[in-house]
């Protein structure tokens, strides 16, 4: 599951809630990309650096580049040093830093950034970050920049959530039942229909992922609304199909207004026996053969 989440590139949005937290999934993804040999930059805003690095072994910790916004977000202690411009400057610095090779940027949380930056500016910066590759669509999957963003969906209204969802290439919504976590993953591949997938999982203490089987709910028997369809063409009193001989006879039938060569000849050269048409008339006893107009007698 982790490979498929990381494969698409772009912005991966992890939406979690109070009951189903997403930071462990974020750390699992960070560990996975660090093990693949990529550069990983983490912008930590909500938890301290020690807490974030907890649980990773030293090889991963060496690959992790941590940008700390938690300890001193407004840079009171070191005026004019490190991150003077606040979160926006930190994001832009990340943009410039990942110059070469595939990289993963983990934003510890987008909710914190949404509260400190106006939403359109954050969207534009995220778009610029995830657009690092110069020719989108033609780059190898390994060359892309991935941005993993953790978003606490209960803290925001539908507006910012919708705006960030429309930017994301992959959107993971965490939920679960009965103690078992599940992820509803929406893949938005460019120029293809989006696909929805549900995966049950659990994260082990060393931040590796274990897939689970869906827990059995009391399953209702699927009500059989679909009655077997009856074929209406059986048991008919008339014949709907044509046999081969009948079809040949039908094809060779000359239709009344069909212009065939025989008819053309007949029209061009009136045949010998069909010169003129004769009318044979035998007058009755009561027939009046008078040529005058009978209406002349009327006195109107």
């Amino acid at each position: 599951m982790l490979e498929s989440l990381l494969a698409l590139g772009g912005l991966v949005l992890l939406r979690d809630s109070v009951e189903w937290e997403g930071r462990s999934l974020l750390k699992a993804l960070v560990k996975k990309s660090a093990l693949c040999g990529e550069q990983v930059h983490v912008l930590g805003c909500e938890v301290s650096e020690e807490e974030f690095r907890e649980g990773f072994d030293s090889s991963i910790n060496n690959r992790l580049v941590y940008h700390d916004l938690f300890r001193d977000p407004l840079s009171w202690s070191k005026p004019g040093k490190a991150l003077p411009g606040g979160p926006l400057e930190a994001l832009r610095a990340l943009d410039k830093r990942t110059g070469s090779g595939p990289a993963t940027i983990a934003l510890d949380s987008l909710s914190w950034l949404l509260h400190h930056l106006p939403c359109p500016i954050l969207c534009q910066t995220l778009h610029a970050l995830s657009r690092q590759d110069s020719c989108p669509g033609d780059t190898l999957p390994g060359e892309q920049v991935r941005v993993l963003g953790l978003l606490h969906e209960e803290l925001h209204g539908p507006g910012p959530l919708g705006a960030l969802s429309s930017l994301a290439q992959t959107e993971v919504t965490l939920s679960g039942t009965m103690g078992q976590a599940s992820a509803h993953i929406l893949y938005r591949r460019p120029r293809q229909r989006p696909t929805l997938q549900t995966q049950w999982f659990s994260i082990l203490p060393d931040f590796s992922l274990e897939l689970q089987v869906e827990p059995l709910l009391e399953s209702q028997p699927p009500s059989d609304l679909h009655t077997p369809s009856v074929d209406p063409t059986t048991h008919l009193t008339f014949n709907l199909h044509l046999s081969k001989k009948e079809r040949e006879a039908k094809d060779s039938l000359t239709l009344p207004f069909q212009f065939s060569s025989e008819k053309q000849q007949a029209l061009l050269r009136p045949g010998l026996g069909q010169a003129t048409s004769h009318i044979f008339y035998e007058p009755d006893a009561y027939d009046d053969l008078d040529q005058e107009d009978p209406d002349d007698d009327l006195d109107v």
Binding site: P120, Q124, H127, G157, G159, P160, A163, R188, Q258
Partner: protein
């Protein structure tokens, strides 16, 4: 109409008879003089511009939207000087197709293009346009899809044999002066066509300087820059008649993608009561003023499903001329509805302008559905849906 036929009718008829004897045309009447664009052009009060035709209802100059089916639903085409607003579907899969059809139609007709986007580079958008089809190959595509049973393409017509004597439609070169072409989505437009066309691109991240100094005017800086760019192009290239030395008039097709999304710097999609809530409506108002005074037509795609304030959507609809909404079935309960199983979504014609007219041109058909096949985007009337709705209304009211 009268302006065209100024030459004496007597001489014209003899001339045309001679012409008919020599050529093998469908009709025996032939207009003398320079061949006007389109075999069936009506009045030529204006100098005829390639790729346009006057409307049969009110003489308004129309351009094709790239989809002949959509042209028919809009009353012949999109009027020059108006805005076509496409309300995007939820996952933004089908609205880029309509956008691309519009631009591809511009390239094939020889119009100038202006592509503005905050998401993608305009050069990349132009590379992905669909390739135009010549007439015979489109008919073949149609036949393949429609007939499930095998049918020879040149079957002898038995009953309607007179139609067999008519010549097939002429497969002219692709850059013909016909109105409305067909495109193959699975193929890309050939590179030569893009290179010979005149296009201007506006990519917002390049134009906005990195220093975010918010100006105090009520328009978002992105919109302001875009309006200035459009005005500049219209003036420089002479689409508003300001450059009298230009001998050949042409149409400017403007395409703006994802207007109103946060990538343009507008927070109308993010909050309900935002400070710059009038920015988008002002932009549309000024844009309409620019368009009405120039020979241009504009297509805008807007993610209205993200706009939180419903009043803004109503205002935006009123400020645009033609509004078409796309609703795709993905992820909604309609996907499993057996009525809609052949289609990918519904298309709603929300508004048609009333230009120089007293009545609207609305067609009677309200249930339109679209389907994206492998190579075509088709719009059809979903008749079953209409019938069911009518029956249910009938029975519910009794």
């Amino acid at each position: 109409m009268a302006a065209a036929g100024t030459c004496g009718t007597g001489t014209r008829s003899t001339g045309s008879m001679v012409a008919a004897a020599s050529t093998n045309n469908v009709t025996s009447f032939q207009r003398r003089g320079p061949r006007a664009s389109g075999a069936d052009s009506g009045c030529s009060r204006l100098v005829s511009i390639a790729g346009t035709r006057p409307s049969v209802r009110n003489g308004q100059l129309l351009v094709s939207t790239g989809l002949p089916a959509l042209d028919q639903l809009l009353g012949g085409g999109l009027a020059v000087g108006t805005v076509l607003l496409i309300e995007e579907d939820k996952y933004n899969i089908y609205s880029p197709l309509l956008f691309k059809y519009f631009l591809a139609e511009g390239i094939v007709s020889g119009h100038a293009l202006l592509v503005a986007s905050a998401k993608e580079d305009p050069a990349d958008i132009l590379q992905k346009l669909p390739a135009p089809l010549i007439d015979d190959s489109y008919k073949k595509e149609c036949d393949e899809d429609v007939c499930s049973h095998k049918m020879e393409p040149d079957i002898k017509m038995k009953i309607a044999w007179r139609y067999q004597l008519l010549p097939k439609m002429e497969a002219g070169p692709v850059s013909s002066s016909r109105f409305g072409h067909y495109y193959d989505i699975s193929k890309r437009i050939p590179q030569e066509l893009i290179e010979t066309s005149k296009w201007h691109g506006f990519f917002l991240p390049e134009k906005i300087s990195s220093a975010f100094n918010v100006e105090s005017c009520s328009l978002t800086p992105g919109y302001m820059k875009l309006l200035q760019f459009i005005q500049n192009i219209i003036y420089k290239e002479g689409f508003d008649g300001s450059n009298p030395q230009k001998k050949q008039k042409n149409i400017l097709r403007i395409g703006i993608q994802n207007l109103g999304s946060p990538l343009w710097g507008d927070d109308i999609c993010c909050t309900e009561n935002c400070d710059t809530s009038h920015s988008l409506t002002k932009f549309l108002y000024i844009l309409r003023g620019l368009l009405r005074t120039s020979l241009s037509a504009c297509i805008i795609t807007m993610p209205t499903h993200l706009i939180q304030n419903k009043a803004v959507i109503a205002r935006v609809t009123n400020l645009s001329d033609t509004v078409v909404g796309l609703e795709s079935f993905i992820g909604s309960e309609k996907e499993t509805n057996p009525l809609y199983k052949d289609y990918h979504g519904l298309i709603h014609i929300r508004q048609i302008p009333r230009l120089n007219n007293l009545i609207y041109d609305i067609s009677d058909v309200k249930d339109l559905a679209f389907k994206l096949k492998k190579k075509l985007f088709t719009i059809e009337v979903s008749q079953e849906a209409g019938k069911v709705v009518w029956y249910s209304r009938l029975f519910n009211s009794s």
